[in-house]
C-alpha cells in the first residue's frame, strides 16, 4: 500500500468490473466490500473444500436487490438498507438480517502541496455544496476544485447523508468512479479536495486532513471519535444457516478480521495485531 501504483489506479477506474467464480453460494453487492470478500472467500474455500462461493460486485443497490429477489443468499452493502428496500423485502417475505463485518473510515484528502491540515465538518459541507470556493477561507490559497465520488455510489450516499446533510453536491464537482480515481485526480491537481477510504488516504501525492482535529485512523474509528466512518455489512435472509452461517462466522473470527485489516479496512473487534497488519501492508 506504500505505493499506490498507477496501474492499480487505472484498474480501479474501471470499478465497473465484476469478478466471479462458479459456485454454490452467490454473494452480490458493494464494490467497497468486495476486497474483503475476495480474500475471505479464497481463504474460506481453501479450508472448506466442498463449499464454493461466487462473488459479483456491482454496488450496494444491486446487493439489496439480489437478496430481495432471492438470487443471492448473501448481500454486501456499504450502507444499511434503505426504508424502501426494507419495505420491498417485507412484501416479498424476505427478512433482512444485518451483520456488521468491518468499518470504513472516509478521509478527506488534499494535494500534498496544500498547506491546509485540518478541516471541520461545516467547512467540508460548505466546500461540497459550493459555498466555499477559495482555499483562503481555510488558510490556503487559490480556487478549490472539488472532487467527489459518483452520486450513485454507496460512498457518495454516505457522504451525502453525513457531510452534506442531504443537500445537493456542488454541480461543478468532478465526479469520479472509484476510490483509486479520486486519489489519482487529487494527487495530480494542486487545488483539489477529495475523499477516499482510509486505505487510499496515504497514497503518494496526497495529504489526509484531520477532521475536527481528529486523525482518520483505525483507533479513532474504533473508539468512535472520528466523525466520518461507516459500517460495512453483510445481509442474509433471516438468521444465517448452514454454509452461509459457517462463512459469516469465518469473517467474524480472528482470521477473518485479520483479512479485513489486511485490505486496509477497520476490523469490528479491536484485534491486538490489527495495527500490525496495517503497518505490514504499508
Amino acid at each position: 500500500m506504500k505505493r499506490l501504483s498507477l496501474a492499480l489506479a487505472a484498474m480501479l477506474v474501471l470499478g465497473l468490473a465484476a469478478t466471479s467464480f462458479a459456485g454454490d453460494i452467490a454473494v452480490k453487492g458493494s464494490t467497497t466490500v468486495q476486497p474483503i470478500m475476495q480474500k475471505a472467500v479464497e481463504a474460506f474455500m481453501a479450508q472448506n473444500k466442498g463449499i464454493s462461493i461466487s462473488i459479483s460486485a456491482s454496488g450496494s443497490g444491486d446487493g439489496a436487490k439480489a437478496l430481495i429477489d432471492g438470487s443471492a443468499p448473501l448481500a454486501m452493502l456499504s450502507r444499511e438498507m434503505k426504508a424502501s428496500e426494507l419495505k420491498q423485502a417485507k412484501e416479498k417475505g424476505v427478512n433482512p438480517k444485518l451483520i456488521l463485518i468491518a468499518y470504513d473510515c472516509l478521509t478527506p484528502v488534499v494535494n500534498s502541496s496544500n498547506p491546509v491540515k485540518n478541516i471541520t465538518l461545516a467547512q467540508l459541507k460548505d466546500i461540497y455544496t459550493g459555498k466555499i470556493t477559495d482555499w483562503k477561507e481555510l488558510g490556503g490559497a487559490g480556487p478549490v476544485s472539488v472532487v467527489s465520488r459518483d452520486s450513485s455510489s454507496g460512498t457518495f450516499e454516505y457522504w451525502g447523508e453525513h457531510v452534506l446533510k442531504k443537500e445537493r453536491v456542488y454541480a461543478r464537482a468532478q465526479m469520479q468512479a472509484s476510490n483509486g480515481a479520486v486519489a489519482q485526480v487529487v494527487s495530480k491537481q494542486k487545488s483539489s479536495i477529495g475523499y477516499v477510504g482510509l486505505a487510499y488516504a496515504h497514497a503518494p501525492g496526497l495529504r489526509a486532513l484531520t477532521v475536527e482535529g481528529v486523525v482518520g485512523s483505525v483507533e479513532n474509528t474504533l473508539n468512535g471519535t472520528y466523525p466520518i466512518s461507516r459500517g460495512l455489512y453483510l445481509y442474509t435472509n433471516g438468521e444465517p444457516t448452514g454454509d452461509v452461517a459457517k462463512f459469516v462466522n469465518f469473517i467474524l473470527s480472528d482470521a477473518g478480521q485479520k483479512i479485513v485489516a489486511s485490505v486496509d479496512y477497520v476490523p469490528v473487534k479491536g484485534l491486538k495485531d490489527a495495527k500490525g497488519a496495517q503497518k505490514a501492508k504499508k
Binding site: A10, V13, S152, Q174, K188
Partner: protein, 296 residues
C-alpha cells in the same frame, strides 16, 4: 445431394446470417426504447432534454435534466473534430499525393493501428500524462477537462478520418489530375482545385464517421472529461458527456427505478444522434458520389 438444393441451402445459410445480425440490432433497439420511454411518465420530454440539473439520486426532489450532458457531448465532439479534421485530412493528402509508395505502405498501417488502441489506454494516458502536463503548461486548476477529453478523442478519430479520406483521395481518377497538370496547373493547384473537390464526398463521410466515433466513445470521456454535470463555460472546465454518465451510474441505479429509466433515455438520445450521423454519412457518400471523371 442435388446441385440446386445445395445452392439453395447455401443461399439460405447466408440469408440466415444476415437476418441474425439485423434481428440482434432490432432487439437491442426495442429493448432500449422499452426501458427508455417510461422516463417520460415522470419527466416531460422538454424537462428532460432542456433541464439544467442532473440530480437523479436526490431522494427528496430528483432532477432529470440532461442539457448539461448533451452540451458536453456536443462540445467535446465539436472541439475534437476541430482538432482531428485538419490533422486527419492533411495526413490523408500527404499519404495519397505526396508520400512515396514506400512511405505510404509503411505509414498507412501505422496510422490505422492507432485506431486499434484500446480506448482505456488513451483515457489513462489523458489522465496520468496529459492532465498534469496541461495544468503545468497552462497554469489551470483542473487537468481533467473539456479540452483534454477533446484532445484524446481527436487521437481516436484521426485514424478513421485519415484512413477513409486517404482511400477517397487515392481513388480520384488519374486522368483528372493529368488533365489539370497538362493545362499548366501546379501540383498544389491540382491538389486544391481538382483532387480534393473530387474526393470531397469521401472526405465528408470520413469526417462524419470520425465524429460519430467521438460522440459515442465512453471510456475516454469517463476518465478524462472531469465528470461535472454543468454547462461547459470554459475550455478548461470539467464536463460530463452522455456516455460517461451512463457508464458511471448504471451499475448503481436500482433496477427499473426512475434513475435506471432515465439512463436508458439518455442512451436513446445518444442512439438517435449516432444514427443521424451515420445516415448523414451514407447520404453524403451516395449523393455526391464521384462516378467516373465526367461528373466533376
Amino acid at each position: 445431394m442435388h446441385r440446386q438444393t445445395k445452392e439453395l441451402l447455401i443461399k439460405r445459410a447466408f440469408l440466415a446470417a444476415a437476418i441474425t445480425s439485423l434481428a440482434v440490432l432490432a432487439l437491442i433497439m426495442v429493448f432500449l426504447f422499452m426501458e427508455g420511454l417510461p422516463t417520460f411518465t415522470f419527466v416531460s420530454a422538454k424537462g428532460f432534454l432542456f433541464g439544467l440539473d442532473w440530480y437523479p439520486t436526490d431522494e427528496a426532489r430528483p432532477d432529470y435534466g440532461i442539457l448539461p450532458l448533451i452540451t458536453a457531448s456536443a462540445a467535446v465532439t465539436a472541439l475534437s473534430s476541430l482538432l482531428a479534421i485538419p490533422l486527419g485530412v492533411m495526413s490523408a493528402v500527404y499519404l495519397a499525393e505526396i508520400a512515396s509508395p514506400r512511405v505510404r505502405a509503411l505509414a498507412k498501417p501505422i496510422i490505422e493501428m492507432l485506431a486499434s488502441l484500446p480506448s482505456v489506454v488513451i483515457g489513462f494516458f489523458g489522465m496520468v500524462v496529459m492532465a498534469p502536463f496541461l495544468q503545468e503548461l497552462l497554469d489551470i486548476p483542473i487537468g481533467l477537462n473539456l479540452f483534454n477529453a477533446s484532445l484524446m478523442l481527436a487521437f481516436m478519430s484521426v485514424p478513421t478520418i485519415a484512413s477513409v479520406s486517404e482511400d477517397a483521395i487515392y481513388a480520384v481518377p488519374r486522368e483528372l489530375k493529368e488533365a489539370s497538370l497538362a493545362l499548366g496547373a501546379t501540383h498544389l493547384e491540382t491538389l486544391l482545385r481538382v483532387t480534393l473537390p473530387a474526393a470531397l464526398s469521401g472526405i465528408g463521410t470520413a469526417v462524419i464517421l470520425g465524429m460519430s466515433r467521438a460522440i459515442g466513445e465512453t471510456m475516454v470521456v469517463l476518465m478524462v472529461a472531469g465528470g461535472a454535470a454543468v454547462l461547459p463555460d470554459s475550455l478548461f472546465g470539467p464536463v460530463r458527456p452522455m456516455p460517461a454518465s451512463i457508464a458511471a451510474e448504471m451499475a448503481e441505479a436500482p433496477f427499473r427505478s426512475h434513475h435506471y429509466h432515465s439512463l436508458f433515455a439518455i442512451a436513446m438520445v445518444l442512439f438517435l444522434v449516432t444514427l443521424f450521423f451515420n445516415v448523414l454519412a451514407d447520404y453524403i457518400s451516395h449523393k455526391h458520389r464521384q462516378t467516373g471523371s465526367a461528373s466533376l
